[in-house]
Symmetry: C2
Subunit: 355 residues, 2 copies
Amino acid sequence: MELKLETVTKGIEPVSQEWRMKARDYLKNLAIPQGSLGELLNLAEQLAAIKETLKPSVKKKIVVTMAGDHGVVEEGVSAFPQEVTPQMVANFVAGGAAINVLSEVAGTRVIVVDMGVAADLSELVEKGDILSYKVDYGTKNMTQGPAMTREQAKKALEAGIEIAGKLVEEGVELLGTGDMGIGNTTPSSAILAAMTGCSVREATGRGTGLDDVALENKVRVIQKALEVNQPDPNDAMDVLAKVGGFEIGGIAGLILGAAYHKVPVVVDGFISTAGALIARGLAPNSVDYMIASHKSVEAGHKYMWKELGLRPLLDLNFRLGEGTGAAVAMNIVESAAQVISKMLTFEDAGVSRNV
Amino acid sequence: MELKLETVTKGIEPVSQEWRMKARDYLKNLAIPQGSLGELLNLAEQLAAIKETLKPSVKKKIVVTMAGDHGVVEEGVSAFPQEVTPQMVANFVAGGAAINVLSEVAGTRVIVVDMGVAADLSELVEKGDILSYKVDYGTKNMTQGPAMTREQAKKALEAGIEIAGKLVEEGVELLGTGDMGIGNTTPSSAILAAMTGCSVREATGRGTGLDDVALENKVRVIQKALEVNQPDPNDAMDVLAKVGGFEIGGIAGLILGAAYHKVPVVVDGFISTAGALIARGLAPNSVDYMIASHKSVEAGHKYMWKELGLRPLLDLNFRLGEGTGAAVAMNIVESAAQVISKMLTFEDAGVSRNV
């Protein structure tokens, strides 16, 4: 059954406070000094609250890497040429990219989705190597007008929702987000600046490795895009359409779909977290289902996490995307699930309590 | 062949700078923006330098959890009674402790070693559930004189060396340290204060959960132990004997053994890092083989990492020990090994470079 965007955004419930409290009480009885597993205990509470059980399972995992291109690359905002987007999609399929090898360690599958790559990927789609929810061959240059139409934005969001629904139906217990798209830190910074109190300068970083001159140019490009389009911060769909990207819309939709189906979703880096801001704008309760994977080197990322009120699990100086941070964080999420599901209590283990 | 302590400390070589540079050059060709996998790339370099290959493997892992008791608990330095040490050893054997469930996620084995528990564990030893290198039934109260004799300190160190040697012979590619011992943050803080510029107050934390009054008492106890014993900061064996512990000696020995055999060793929390300080004191090159797992909540831990010049991989507010931080960090170490061993280069993946 095809889910409409509005059905999903209105249908996302806050997680169960009752189960969160049950989990908190239960975790106090584990045979460890109170609170001594820190963030794992917070995560275990969140998983219990999402899945409404004291034995949450996250063994069946998947990272969904959404790919798309950006018309704004015409403005010289990336150190890499646009052809790298389809080249990297091919690398994901070949299994030679960072997300592939990190997913192996994390015990997670990866699927790649063409949300709007500016190249014909139909051969890969036909072979079943990637999914296609292609909205268009790249967005338009957002310094000249909206990156996409409102209809396209909705289509991107509903693609993510549909993918999440299918994966949940297949039994996936933990979702992760990922992105590929040359130039996509530019719309992500624009979303951050448009939706929060962050200035364009604070929101803008070096992406794949800009020098000082190119960084100044990128700031000007984003400022121009915001001036030309005047996105409405209270209308996340408007922000996505005017200064977003197809893969960012897909990621936002995936998060919304996960939340609707009560499945936790590990949010990757800067681009994915821009998607999370859009998802939060459309359905504030969706934040309850998000797990912050890592703090990126990309300058604006910390402001995004702050805005969402989430503490990233890792700080390993990543700035790659693809879902790499989500994949590495998934082991920590699984660790938290194991702690609440399998550890013995003081009573069961026959261990004396503190005096 | 039994290895003598001096053979090992003199035999530990610095890691290969040639292989480190080879790895650095190689990693620059991976199809990612330069440096965008942050700490994973540094780790990958270290693994390549230790193992002298561009395809380091760390699949065969083990966490060695060393248990011991401390005479200084008479002074009221712990929130838990001493009987918890053997009770937790039994919990490790039953598989219900944090280290057990976290090791499962990390794909690592755990072995438990009785280095000096103040209880008869011979039944567990006979059943093959734990190893015994018991030096004595707990250390002496270090506020009254040395915690152990110099001979006992040597015995503890050589036990760790022997264990490392046997595990390496069995094919273990990555070692992790762990500890269990009620009261053992007290000797660990004493070691930190004795060997570095850290004051006793900076070095002393709340352990398993002391209140303010008990914390003040703990500071006084450590000050007294240092005054009574006057450990020589330039003689790590003297520090270990006077204000250390049997499990801390075992951990130091394990690290030395790992370094001697050119195997990386993931150092766990506050107690393990006290062992690392002893190891560094005996053989400065051993630091090259250490991987810092996490930053503990325990107050003095950050000073230990600073002293060793190591950046911890994780900051998850753990303060448990057992090897839990090492286990969770092992996935990150394995991720680094995969990155250098399996990712494709720009050339092999057919991806364009930045302009």
